[in-house]
Amino acid sequence: MVEITETWIDSLAPNSAAIKNGHDLIKKGKFTAFHQSEDELVLFGICAGSGKTPYTPSADFVFPDKPVMRCSCPSRQIPCKHVLGLLYAYSDGKPFSTEVVPDELAAKREKAEKREEKKAKEAAEGTAPKTKKVNKSALKKKIMAQLQGLDVLEKLTFSLIRRGLGTLDAKELKIIQEHVKQMGSFYLNGAQIQLRKLHMILSAGGNPEYTYSFAAEQFAVIHAFIKKGRAHLNAKLEDPELALDHESTIEEWLGHAWQLSELKEARLVSPEAELIQLSFLSYDDASRLEFVDNGYWMQMDSGEIHSTVQYRPYKAAKLMREEDSFFEVARVPALYRYPGDMNRRVRYESFTSRPLEEQDIAQIRQYAAGSYIEAIKKVKNQLKNPLGDPNPVMLLHVDKVVTDEEGRLFIADAGGDTLGLQDVIGDTTVQLVKYLPEDSLKDIAMLVLFDHQPQSGQLRAQPLSIVNKHEIIRLLY
């Protein structure tokens, strides 16, 4: 059985309220029984709910890297507070008596085991799970619709640009919003997001100078999207296989959600990877109508900085697990990479963890980029692509922190090149540097998020985390 620690249970919980509720169930004495199976692989209990029949939460560790949590309660959160309470009771050292697993649960377990066996058998025989047959004629239809949608989008932008933004009125804003809806029926989620963003820029108010600058930039992005999207879709129509493009991010822009099997097929999967989270942030992306949980991780065998992204649509946010900072080392049996440039999105189906050790810290520090000129070149190479991520993240070696006459902070590499620090995202971190002790400001590795500011013509970096000789100091989360 895996070691059940309180932090591990915390990390399973969908949100902080569930953590509290789980603890409360124990405090209130709602549990009437704690049991475990003879082989100690299953924990189960009985917990009183609001109804007559109590709930029967259970946690099954037959597959240690993929524990299965079950409960008879109607909650859509998994694990629910009853299971969390059961696990907290176990980690608190409450006595669990050995009992025979109830029939109902045993039946479910048997089914799950059979499923797993079948999978293993298939894997052993080399017959990978059958990839879904693509219905080509349907796909063709979809591509045609997308092309048509791009035309509609182009027509709208051109008409807006010909008239000029100076005379834009509420009526036109409404037309943009109608187009946002239309894009959905053309299977163009990416276009929806970009158009919604344009709408937000134009209707935000505030300094009109900035509004127009942002709008001009956004128009460029939309234009690039239309051009690239159209070229890609036309090329796809030519291809008899109608294959996905696994090199660039264009599929995602067009609204494709990558399946793990598709990534596997494109050979975008690496076995046995260790990941260490360097920073985490969570924000509300109004143009997507989603909350975004964003983690930056280092792949320990290559030193690449990847990102994990979880979208929580507003409508489903309550039911989804809110991601959290992760302080241990995640060992991933199969790491799936998305197409892209720097900070590729990664995903994994299961993981085990081990504590972070001093040599991990040393290794992270080794991967820090030493020359800012090289690093900036790489960043700019990505920035010139209008469809690339405008905020790449890199781990840089910092020889020392310096300040100019106006008190602004810069980091300097061993060669004396400097890079200005500035807050880019809503959460401020630069001012925290002032509170750090000397050994966290000299000879360190710093994870920074880049941003190009067209108004001032400057490239700035926001510090996210600092790795000194002993620990990772998280300036964000």
Partner: protein, 621 residues
């Protein structure tokens, strides 16, 4: 150079987005830029491409249809890509090594733990104080990332949050916080700055008082008054405080008096006394009350005594007497809650001339203050004087409205229980024989109300709901009565019979005592007739039953009967005393309680559930 050019082009392109691309054809400002691009284009292909784009855009073909928009978009797209690679990263001028002022704090809390507190500190709206307070108690603020928000919280529009940051959260970081507060400290500012200064002064770093002193001289009025108060108790700034006490501004003088009062030194006392003699006499008075200097108090008592003495000479001059009384009130206030032998002598003197002060001059405040002071000293002579004074009051006020109210309250602690009973009991005796509208009935009601106020207190107070297992605190309606021993010792036992006769349940409950069978049966009847736990009577009756010594089976049976009564419905929460008694029921009542439970609601139901659960565990253990 080339970046400036690109920025210029960007400016023009943006202008076309605002004005509309249909106006691009022949645009002379773009035309003017074109040669430079063509020239640079010979060396750099990007500029060549941009030049071509601009040329097409301003060409004659762009005027018709959607082309102008497309051409503008093309140029813009290319330009944005190029601009994105032009960002300057390095510092412009000289740089110097940065030295931090470190505050050693970990950064180990996770996003979920921090974000709730952060949201509370950065947003507006209800419920934030609780989140912040809880986070402070859990030690969440011992994380570097919350430090800037804690400083920012000093400026929170919700005063309680700002005060919490000032008095608890920020000082918990220790003296290391001082440099960071000083960094943004602006002595010319308002409330925020004076809060910062308070944190700085209380950080425990003695080196900061130079700054506090400076702020007390050169800050804004708000900051100065705070700074001056913070200088109290520091001998090296005593002279400064003395100087401030002669400042032109009233607020400054007031703050200085306050600080001098806290200092309490000889010079401070002299200055405060001096001020009390001049035009600042009203302004300085709160500080006089605050100051614990014995010397000052001696002076004040001496003057007070002389003042009271002087009234004898001017007894017929109305205006003069008025003047003396105004001064006397000031002394009363500044000496309130202080103790000394001289003061005792002074108040004894007042009681000796009680008739003069109380009735002739009508200085009720003075007379009452003297009475309270002497009562607490407990000297033989004092008590005799007080008793004599009360007897005078009783005569003087007989038949007035205050007789059954203020005078009763004043007399109760001084007169013996028997004497008090004999004086007042006839009001209750009279009541039985007269109509409800008569004057004596009114009198009787007043007296009963007064007594009830003295022995029974009712209020909502914080209460831990044990049935939620220590989780929830809420407010509950509490009824408390004077302890039984106190009533036995200080009240005549004969009162109880009158209360029963007059059917005053609250007082019967409070005065009930073991061995008084009539009271017990009266209360049992009451509980039987109004068993509803939702009403206040049931709780009162049970309190009385416990006082009457009804216990064991008799009490349990009465409680459970009331619980079972079919009128006992709609109870949402059982009052604390009653709940406590129910908790003591033996487990044998389990079934009967369970049967009654469906008639109870919300918290009431949970309370019964809690009782049942405890019964079960007591059986099993």
């Amino acid at each position: 150079m080339s970046q400036a050019l690109l920025m210029e082009l960007n400016e023009e392109i943006r202008r076309l987005y605002i004005a509309g691309s249909d106006l691009a054809a022949g645009d002379y400002r773009l035309k003017r830029l074109l040669p430079t691009f063509q020239q640079l284009g010979e060396r750099a292909p990007v500029f060549k491409k941009l030049g071509e784009g601009v040329e097409a855009l301003i060409g004659p073909g762009s005027g018709n249809g959607a082309d102008s928009a497309r051409l503008l978009q093309d140029v813009n797209l290319l330009l944005q890509s190029v601009l994105n690679t032009q960002g300057k990263a390095a510092a412009d001028g000289q740089t110097a090594p940065f030295t931090s002022k470190s505050v050693l704090l970990p950064t180990r809390l996770s996003y979920r733990k921090l974000s709730a507190v952060r949201t509370a500190l950065t947003t507006r709206g209800g419920g934030r104080h609780e989140v912040i307070l809880e986070a402070y108690h859990e030690g969440v603020f011992r994380d570097l990332r919350l430090l800037p928000f804690a400083i920012e919280a000093l400026n929170d529009p919700y005063v309680e949050i700002a005060e919490l940051a000032m008095t608890d959260i920020l000082p918990s970081y220790g003296p290391e916080i001082v440099p960071h507060l000083l960094e943004s400290f602006d002595p010319k500012g308002g409330k925020l700055e004076s809060r910062k200064l308070t944190v700085i002064a209380r950080s425990g770093d003695p080196g900061v008082f130079g700054i506090v002193h400076e702020a007390s001289v050169s800050g804004s009025d708000e900051v100065r008054t705070t700074a001056i108060r913070l200088l109290a108790g520091h001998p090296e700034y005593e002279q400064a405080l003395l100087d401030f006490s002669r400042d032109k501004k009233k607020g400054i003088r007031e703050a200085a008096y306050h600080a001098l009062a806290d200092t309490g030194s000889q010079r401070a006392a002299e200055r405060l006394y001096e001020a009390s003699q001049g035009k600042d006499c009203d302004l300085v008075n709160p500080s006089l009350a605050r100051c614990q200097s014995e010397r000052l108090n001696e002076w004040l008592i001496r003057d007070f005594s002389e003042l009271l003495h002087s009234v004898h000479a001017h007894i017929d001059e109305k205006q003069k007497v008025e003047e003396i009384w105004t001064k006397a009130k000031r002394y009363l206030w500044s000496l309130h809650q202080k103790k000394s032998l001289e003061l005792e002598a002074l108040y004894l003197e007042v009681l000796r001339h009680y008739k003069l002060y109380m009735f002739k001059l009508g200085w009720v405040f003075l007379a009452n203050e003297a009475m309270n002071y002497i009562r607490n000293t407990g000297s033989e002579e004092g008590l005799q004087l007080a008793e004599a004074a009360i007897e005078m009051d009783l005569k003087h006020y007989a038949g007035t409205n205050s007789y059954a109210r203020e005078i009763f309250i004043k007399a109760q602690p001084i007169l013996s229980p028997e004497r008090l009973y004999e004086e007042y009991a006839r009001i209750l005796k009279d009541r039985v024989h007269v109509s409800a509208l008569s004057r004596s009935a009114n009198y009787c009601k007043q007296l009963l109300d007064t007594m009830e106020d003295m022995v029974v207190s009712r209020r909502y107070q914080a209460f831990r709901q044990v049935w939620t297992y220590g989780e929830k605190e809420s407010y509950a309606y509490h009824v408390e009565m004077l302890p039984q021993e106190e009533i036995t010792a200080n009240w005549d036992p004969r009162w109880l019979d009158h209360f029963i006769e007059l059917d005053h349940m609250a007082l019967v409950s409070a005065f009930a005592r073991p061995g008084h069978a009539e009271a017990a049966s009266y209360l049992l009847d009451k509980l039987k007739n109004s068993p509803e736990f939702r009403n206040r009577f049931a709780n009162l009756a049970v309190m009385g039953l416990v006082r009457a010594g009804v216990a064991g089976d008799q009490l349990h049976e009465a409680l459970v009967r009331a619980l079972e009564d079919e009128r006992n419905t709609e109870c949402h929460e059982i009052e604390p005393f009653l709940f406590d008694q129910l908790c003591r029921l033996p487990a044998s009542y389990e079934e009967r309680i369970r049967a009654a439970m469906p008639r109870f609601k919300s918290d009431g139901e949970q309370q019964l559930e809690y009782i049942l659960k405890n019964m079960q565990s007591s059986i099993s253990s």
